[in-house]
């Protein structure tokens, strides 16, 4: 008995596979498309080779002085010589290990939060949030436990940027959650107070807030009481950012179906327990990407503290470029700074997008 055997499949036609076919489909599918491709190629040719030439081929990497640099290319020696200042500001060089240790502890401490199988994550997280700031303050500021005191006026560079951003978000998050709850409250007086607060801070630029915290805050306080410039800026940043967090959290609260509120009441839970045990855990999970996006915005906004004279990363860069010894190195300085900011913001936004996909348990119909 003869069995029927299929002939092997013919290969697809030559014109529909391979690089050439891909190019036909994606780059040269029509006259207009071909023109676009050529225009884009021209643009790339105009921009990319000079940039590579400037940043790598003609650039100077070795040396310690301005005279080591060749004209025409980037002078990365400048970045190399000022690297310490960009990272730590005026923090005493022999004490910089304390900054490194603080950062290391932050990284080591947060790693367990990203491990999926970790038990009692919430308890660990809250404990970390309470203990770490104290440790960080002791390490960075010193003055106790035999550590030399380093006043905040000497903090600077990327360290200061990270301090402002992380303290800002840590302070703004709880305040923002309370404001969001207040805005959704059934008590008219509370609601009006919260709406006014939120809309006020969202309506003004951060610069005016920083101006206010540096010149008006001292007027508000009792006579003779004054506090640190950094702390004043931080208060401004926290109040400003909490309004944005509140709006993000409110979005999450609104996304929770009414049945959840009703079910919580039916279980006999009071307002705070219903919120804390039923509503907020679900709502906050929904808005984590939104909170990360707010944090990215805050990270970029920290650069504004230059206006009130704090030496964050941008200000350190700026001061270094106006130094007479290194005059004319602004391009290198700002490109380097842009790379750092970009790496942080891009990394966080990629993380937030991944999180969005992972947390998407698709309650949407």
């Amino acid at each position: 008995m003869s069995t029927h055997t299929f002939k092997p499949d013919l290969p697809p036609p030559n014109r529909s596979i391979g690089a050439w076919a891909w190019m036909r489909a994606n780059l040269f599918s029509s006259v207009f498309n071909t023109l676009l491709t050529l225009l884009a190629l021209y643009l790339v040719w105009l921009l990319v080779p000079p940039m590579i030439k400037w940043a790598f081929l003609d650039a100077t990497f070795r040396g310690t002085e301005r005279s080591d640099c060749t004209p025409g290319g980037a002078c990365w020696v400048f970045i190399k010589m000022r690297f310490g200042q960009f990272m730590y500001g005026f923090y005493p060089p022999e004490l910089r290990w304390r900054v490194d240790l603080t950062l290391l502890l932050a990284i080591v401490g947060t790693v367990p939060l990203f491990i999926k199988a970790m038990p009692r994550k919430a308890i660990y997280g809250i404990a970390f949030l309470i203990i770490y700031p104290v440790v960080a303050w002791v390490l960075l500021h010193g003055g106790v436990l035999g550590l030399d005191a380093v006043p905040t006026s000497r903090w600077g560079g990327l360290t200061l940027t990270l301090v402002i951003a992380s303290v800002g978000i840590a302070g703004a998050l709880p305040l923002g959650i309370f404001l969001a709850l207040g805005r959704r409250s059934e008590m008219p007086a509370v609601r009006v107070l919260c709406v006014t607060f939120i809309e006020f801070w969202r309506g003004i630029p951060l610069i005016t807030v920083l101006f206010m915290s540096s010149v008006m805050l001292p007027l508000f306080l009792p006579e003779g009481m004054s506090f640190d410039k950094l702390l004043r800026a931080l208060i401004g940043v926290i109040l400003f950012q909490s309004a944005y967090i509140a709006e993000v959290v409110r979005g999450g609260l609104q996304a929770i179906p009414k049945g959840q509120y009703e079910a919580a009441s039916a279980m006999g839970l009071g307002y705070w327990r219903a919120m804390g045990l039923v509503i907020l855990p679900q709502a906050l999970k929904l808005v984590i990407p939104g909170i990360v996006n707010t944090f990215i915005a805050l990270f970029k906004d920290t650069s504004l503290v230059i206006i009130i004279g704090l030496f964050d990363l941008l200000n350190s860069l700026h001061q270094a470029t106006v130094d007479p010894v290194w005059l004319g190195m602004s391009t290198e300085g700002y490109v380097f700074g842009a790379l750092i900011y970009w790496a942080f913001c891009f990394g966080m936004s990629q993380y937030s997008q991944r999180l969005e996909r992972r947390l998407d348990t698709s309650h949407r119909s």
């Binding site: 008219p188 602004s330 970009w342």
Partner: protein
């Protein structure tokens, strides 16, 4: 709030009584805080010898400003200075919004192009520029790029009409001539005619279903009527081209370097966000709509114009307005490079000169608040009108 049941009399378990008590407590706390701050401020001001009030607005400012849209000189008052700053803020915001919108829409549409290279380039643009702080971008343009630009004598010239040097960008300016009045009248007439025509087209289309080349007719009207007026009554304006005289350029308009850097940086930064808004708006229109339009026999161009764009605008416009607001608020970064906007003039220089911290900051903040709140009000009205009417 649910009503309390029973008459157990224990006020503490009555939810309504608790709500009242809580609200009264909240108001009392806020009022007490306010009173405490007010009191402290009063004492502090007294000790420093600062008289509060807005009388200082009448005093002479005594310093010049590098760019002013209205007449201003050193002896003018602080009140006038405020208007100068406000005008400068509005100038940079409006120009920035126009540039960012154009750039953002082009890049947002390119992000969805079938062309792979164009798609990737616009993605690179978006991811690069929205992840770098706007202030750093402003500094980059101002301190790095514009410092490389030569002086007036070696100006970079474009078509012998635009000149870029370290004192700014010089562009030709129109100067009104004899024919200006008839020209403007013709423009107004053309606009009015187009509006009336659009009404008539809509009425006729609703009645008979017949179309009319409205856009083409309006464009022809807008070109023909003013053109005719110019032909009959003479040119409405002539251009003054900037010319190098002595050490600097004369004639034309000058865009000062601060404005140039601020404008470029803010438009480039905001355009990245607008592009993402446009992309998500277009993608939000489900593919079924395109297919439905195709099966009704609409041409692709018509599908885009009558089906996709109207539906995506509903999604695009609210976030677009908030981007415009962000740009307006970000224009306050001008303080970083000394462009004389409201913040750097008022919360910066005037505050330092007069010491009237509370008044200057309050004035500056309230201007931004008024702008933001009025735009959000408009937005709410728009959202109500555009909300999907579900049946």
């Amino acid at each position: 709030m649910s009503k309390s049941i029973g008459t157990s009399g224990s006020l503490i378990n009555d939810p309504r009584a608790r709500a009242w008590a809580f609200q009264i407590l909240a108001i009392v706390v806020v009022a007490a805080l306010g009173w405490y701050l007010f009191n402290n401020t009063q004492t502090n001001l007294e000790h420093r010898g600062i008289t509060s009030g807005f009388a200082f607005l009448e005093h002479s400012a005594g310093f010049g400003v590098s760019q002013s849209l209205i007449d201003y000189n050193e002896s003018d008052s602080y009140g006038r200075l405020f208007l100068v700053g406000l005008a400068n803020t509005l100038l940079v915001s409006i120009l920035g919004i126009i540039l960012a919108t154009v750039l953002g829409f082009v890049i947002g549409i390119a992000r969805l192009s079938p062309n792979w290279l164009v798609r990737k380039l616009s993605a690179i643009y978006i991811e690069t520029f929205r992840n770098i702080p706007p202030l750093l971008q402003i500094f980059f343009w101002y301190f790095a790029v514009l410092r490389l630009v030569p002086g007036p004598r070696q100006s970079l010239s474009f078509f012998d009409a635009l000149f870029l040097n370290n004192r700014g960008l010089y562009v030709p300016a129109p100067v009104s001539a004899d024919g200006i009045v008839p020209f403007l009248v013709a423009v107004v007439l053309a606009v009015v005619a187009s509006i009336i025509l659009a009404r008539w087209v809509k009425v006729r289309r609703d009645k008979t279903g017949r179309g009319f080349p409205l856009l083409l007719t309006s464009i022809v009207l807008l070109i023909a009527l003013p053109g005719l007026a110019a032909l009959i009554f003479g040119a409405p304006f002539h251009w003054t081209v900037p010319e190098l005289k002595g050490f600097n350029f004369q004639g034309g308009w000058v865009v000062i370097p601060e404005l140039f850097a601020l404008l470029v940086a803010l438009s480039v930064y905001t355009a990245a966000f607008i592009a993402e808004t446009v992309r998500s708006g277009i993608q939000s229109v489900s593919h079924g709509q395109t297919e439905a339009a195709n099966s009704l026999g609409l041409k692709p161009s018509r599908t885009l114009r009558m089906v996709i764009i109207p539906q995506s605008m509903r999604v695009i416009i609210p976030p677009l307005t908030s981007q415009y607001l962000n740009l307006t608020k970000n224009s306050s970064l001008a303080a970083g490079i000394g462009y004389p906007d409201m913040v750097s003039l008022f919360a910066g220089t005037v505050l330092n000169q007069t010491g009237q911290a509370i008044e200057t900051i309050a004035i500056t903040m309230s201007v931004y608040l008024v702008i933001s709140l009025s735009i959000s009000l408009l937005m709410n009205v728009y959202n109500k009108r555009m909300a999907l009417r579900e049946r």
